[in-house]
Symmetry: C2
Subunit: 454 residues, 2 copies
């Protein structure tokens, strides 16, 4: 049995929904379909989720947003018309939306979250209606009825373990399950969304709960590329990679699959197959627990910009019990998350995403580190890029580091930082943002040149 | 004005003391002489400090230690006889030692500390007598009278800042100052020792307090070598290096100069000259704030064994605010100090000296990490060596990493960990202990082959 998830671009129009219909019905083992809200039809288009956020915000500020509401409903109406569906479904969506918009605004975060989630919820209703219209036994299932409970963290929900048992009971149902992605319910009964693009997470949770054999994730690319195609032209596609490799790649700039979405599937050992709605014949990329390493040590290279480093030095730091812990505590006091903490004998460097702090917070932070820790020197460097070279086979491959650093050196890239822990499946290089492209190209050339495009 | 410090092997016999006399008197700017206790005369010999520790321990357990006491006094007596000194000085040393041994034993740590320190203290008295005997105006100065105050941490004293002002007043004295190394006094008036080999620290403190132009540290090697001579034959000598480079090298296995001893000199910007008592004509090694980089990016390679790594992985660790801090807190609860913390997205590795924990503590620690942090996996790996490749010029030298990792790769050394932070003057490689020698030899070959022995 398979759980299939479709992203927003796969559901942006009636034509796209027809492709979805053919994909789902082509394989009778496809039991549950998780859907996003309608996405962009073309690059200038606006996603329904973004329209809904704007709509909710305008309702909060002015109590009304007629144009935005109509724009949302129009997107569903167009699709329904294209597919010759009964207008009744659009009336239902309109009613549901206005009920929500006129609901309790005393908790604005909660309010916006519920409106946001309606994009997926109404799309699931529409798609269930479409499948029924085509004579398929299909049913919209509400996450509350299904028992998908999450923590009360709007925009950042975490699934509660009991949900898996609840969802397992969906197996008893006949016919197709059409399930909205992106949100669950708090124990108090409120809609709470996952982080953005969280429909991938819903699909993974459902696959786990239903104990599916496969979680298929349909998107708009043929496969996960081994490197960002905007940096390297026509890069190699990855046919198979492990959860860990995928996690490392999706962390730093690979947006094909949601960062957190792998976990439920990973925990249940369910393979994830990434496929293209617009080209379902393409092999796609399979994410598995273990794989054969046939194509060299590196499976992919990811990079991301917007990092800064806080370098802290203090003579005899090494001797001071608790220094590193205290430095991290100060970051925690400012709710800052960090990525890496390379250290020397008398210094540590904390690397974090720089958009977490503005100039004022940065000055405060530096002062606190200087004063509380009696640091000799605190230096912040902005605009760094982190490059992850990822591959399980790097683990005990003598020479991978040498190849990577030689490639960077020959490209005249200065390595600001290196981080490679034991049992690592990745190697991290920190470089200046201006050198990111050159660095990634050099690494790709080193590890993928001469490898046939599969 | 110069402060000169002599190590134990430079003071082990009358013949050695004659060399010391010639060195000190050859340069009238040598004002203060800091002395260790008599060291080994040959490789099978026992240091006076070790005899004293055994003596103190036996006094605590049995109230007496006649043979050990005589062995200590005999060392001084032999030197006095060799130098034709009045026996009166030996009587004074004997009286001082027995007064201490019969003193208050209610605090054994304090008691042993005071006995240990008498090795230096009595040697300073003996050497002052010798210089006087030779017609030189020289005076033993007691650290208490001089105002060298330290924290009350026996075996790990830290100098109190007021000491520097107190010591400055020694400038007013005429003639040579003979000052015992290794200890100061607590504000309560107790003898408190620095960490082992702490006479280097005393010399550095005195140089700072006296605002000396140079701190000369006489030992038994011609210079600091660029690599451990027991791993590479006839290695290059280092003629000049910076405080930071020295600190990084002395940290990992370079025992020429005490790890902490550089700080007071560093803070006052006083150069440190390391020279050989047995070959004072040799150029030696100079430690300075800044130096010209003429001989390539690497100044030295140090390595040390006996490390272990604790690898902790947890899915989505990266997202959990405070994870690293909590892990370090657990180590702190066990009073464990760590060296490096390389990290991945979902894992961190903590590298520490393995002699800090026994099997039972290790099992407890792992259990706490697993339970408190809900870690997915905790793996401890023992018997690692850390190799430090050190050089200020590495900082912005494109390609040093590549050269180092290529050299290791060609020597078939598997790099378990790499750590290189921003603004680093060193690069750390973790390898298995069994591969340490091969790794160091390969790195030396890469960075020093073809460089003329200066």
């Amino acid at each position: 049995m398979k759980v299939v998830k479709f992203g927003g671009s796969s559901l942006a129009s009636g034509a796209q929904l027809e492709k979805v219909f053919h994909i789902v019905t082509a394989d009778p083992s496809r039991k549950a379909v998780v859907v996003s809200a309608p996405g962009k039809r073309h690059s200038e288009d606006t996603k329904v989720t973004d329209l809904l956020i704007a709509c909710a915000e305008q309702y909060i500020s002015s109590g009304d947003a007629p144009e935005l509401c109509e724009a949302v409903i129009e997107r569903y109406a167009e699709i329904a018309q294209e597919l010759h569906l009964d207008q009744h479904i659009i009336e239902r969506i309109r009613d549901d939306l206005f009920t929500l918009l006129n609901g309790d605004k005393s908790n604005p975060v909660q309010y916006i979250d519920a409106i946001k989630a309606s994009g997926e919820d109404n799309n699931a209703k529409l798609i269930a209606a479409y499948f029924q219209h085509k004579g398929i036994q299909a049913e919209y299932v509400n996450p509350k009825d299904a028992g998908l409970f999450v923590t009360n963290e709007p925009g950042n929900a975490q699934v509660l373990p009991e949900s898996y048992e609840n969802l397992y009971r969906l197996r008893e149902r006949d016919g197709l399950i059409i399930f909205p992605g992106f949100f669950g319910f708090s124990k108090a009964g409120d809609v709470i969304t996952f982080s953005r693009s969280g429909s991938d997470i819903t699909g993974s949770i459902l696959a786990n709960g239903l104990q599916a054999d496969l979680y298929e994730n349909f998107t708009d690319v043929d496969a996960v590329y081994s490197v960002n195609p905007s940096i390297v032209k026509n890069p190699k596609e990855i046919s198979e990679l492990t959860y860990r490799e995928m996690r490392e790649l999706s962390y730093a700039g690979f947006s094909v699959f949601h960062d957190e979405a792998l976990i439920p599937a990973f925990r249940a050992g369910i393979p994830v197959q990434i496929k293209n709605t617009n080209n379902p014949a393409a092999q796609g990329t399979r994410v598995v627990s273990k794989r054969d390493n046939t194509n060299g040590p590196v499976v992919g290279i990811a990079s991301d910009t917007g990092f800064c480093s806080i370098y802290i030095s203090k003579y005899l730091m090494n001797r001071e019990i608790g220094f590193g812990r205290k430095a991290l505590q100060i970051l925690e006091d400012y709710s800052l998350t960090y990525e890496h903490v390379p250290s020397g004998i008398d210094d540590i460097t904390i690397i974090l995403r720089q958009d977490q702090m503005d100039g004022s917070m940065e000055r405060q932070l530096i002062r606190r580190i200087e004063e509380d820790l009696q640091a000799d020197e605190v230096i912040v460097e902005h605009n760094l890029a982190l490059i992850m070279v990822v591959g399980e086979a790097m683990r005990h491959n003598v020479g991978t580091t040498a190849r990577a650093s030689k490639a960077l050196s020959e490209a005249q890239v200065n390595i600001e930082m290196i981080n490679q822990g034991s049992s690592e499946v990745s190697m991290m290089f920190g470089v200046k943002e201006a050198q990111e492209e050159r660095a990634v190209q050099a690494l790709y050339q080193e590890f993928f040149a001469g490898v046939l495009i599969s």
